[in-house]
Amino acid sequence: TVGAVAVDLEGNLAAATSTGGMTNKKYNRIGDSPIIGAGTYANNETCAVSCTGHGEYFMRAVVAYDVSCLMEYKGYSLQQACDYVVNDKLVKLGGEGGLIAVDAQANIVLSFNSEGMYRAARRNQEPTYLRIYND
């Protein structure tokens, strides 16, 4: 699975996710990636989110929209919302994976509960952040 989230000069947000699914899958199984609110979500008032991981858990937890809801209804920061959903809610469900998120202030969160997540980020003219594992 791959994904991207961005905020532009106008303060507008967007999220995109694309996947080839799971190796050896049957029955036309679909994961969370193309499900708006589960694997992909964007709202200028809160955040843009793209998820990756074991999709069935991300669908049950409605992960991407849940991050947005925690910001909208409970006043969580982007970091607080992502930490709660990925490292608490998802872990309790047994879901493994992560997400990338950005808000209108250009805060970036790269959160995962797996051994690693191929990830990169760049804010303004700052150096590009590149990582694979949880270093």
């Binding site: 967007a14 050896n24 708006i36």
Partner: protein, 173 residues
């Protein structure tokens, strides 16, 4: 001047740390760096967030090291089924596609659905028909063939398991 930011991921099912070689690591990091540069350049030059995420994901789809687009894994019957979604935070417009075969860049199709249809999610042959109507490029099965993915599929078939991206020791049987 307002802040701009872009983040990308290439999946959470990483190769085990013990199996990662310096050459492989460089390959992944270079691919990520190229994709982030493509999207960030769009933002720097005043492009929209939607344009930036599409181009960054398209670049990742075109790189066979990631499980999307060209690098998609094999299904049980030896094909490739791809899914993608896109959402604009300003308008809340969304487009998504699921279970399509042979479409070169599913993220482009998702955006075409967002912009040119009254629907949000199209699937399977219907989504492929829409892609043809929008003149999107298709590729033969050989385009999506990758020896590493093929070996993953052979192993998964032998053990009757379903596995996530690159992860080789955590399978869902």
């Amino acid at each position: 001047m307002k802040n701009i930011a872009l983040a990308i991921h290439g999946g959470a099912g990483t190769i085990l740390r013990t199996a990662m070689t310096p050459e492989k690591e460089r390959q992944y990091l270079t691919a990520l760096e190229q994709a982030i540069e493509v999207g960030h350049q769009i933002l720097r030059s005043g492009g929209t967030a939607v344009e930036a995420v599409i181009k960054a994901v398209q670049r990742l789809e075109d790189n066979p090291v990631f499980n999307a687009g060209k690098g998609s894994v094999f299904t049980h019957d030896g094909h490739h089924e791809m899914d993608a979604a896109l959402m604009c935070g300003r308008t809340l417009e969304a487009g998504a596609v699921a279970g399509v075969k042979n479409v070169r860049n599913p993220i482009i199709l998702a955006n075409e659905i967002r912009v040119h249809s009254e629907h949000v999610l199209l699937t399977g042959s219907g989504a492929e028909e829409f892609a043809r109507e929008r003149n999107l490029p298709f590729e033969p099965d050989t385009f999506f063939y990758d020896e590493y993915r093929y070996q993953q599929w052979v192993q998964a078939q032998a053990t009757n398991t379903v596995s996530l991206d690159h992860t080789e020791d955590r399978k869902f049987g």
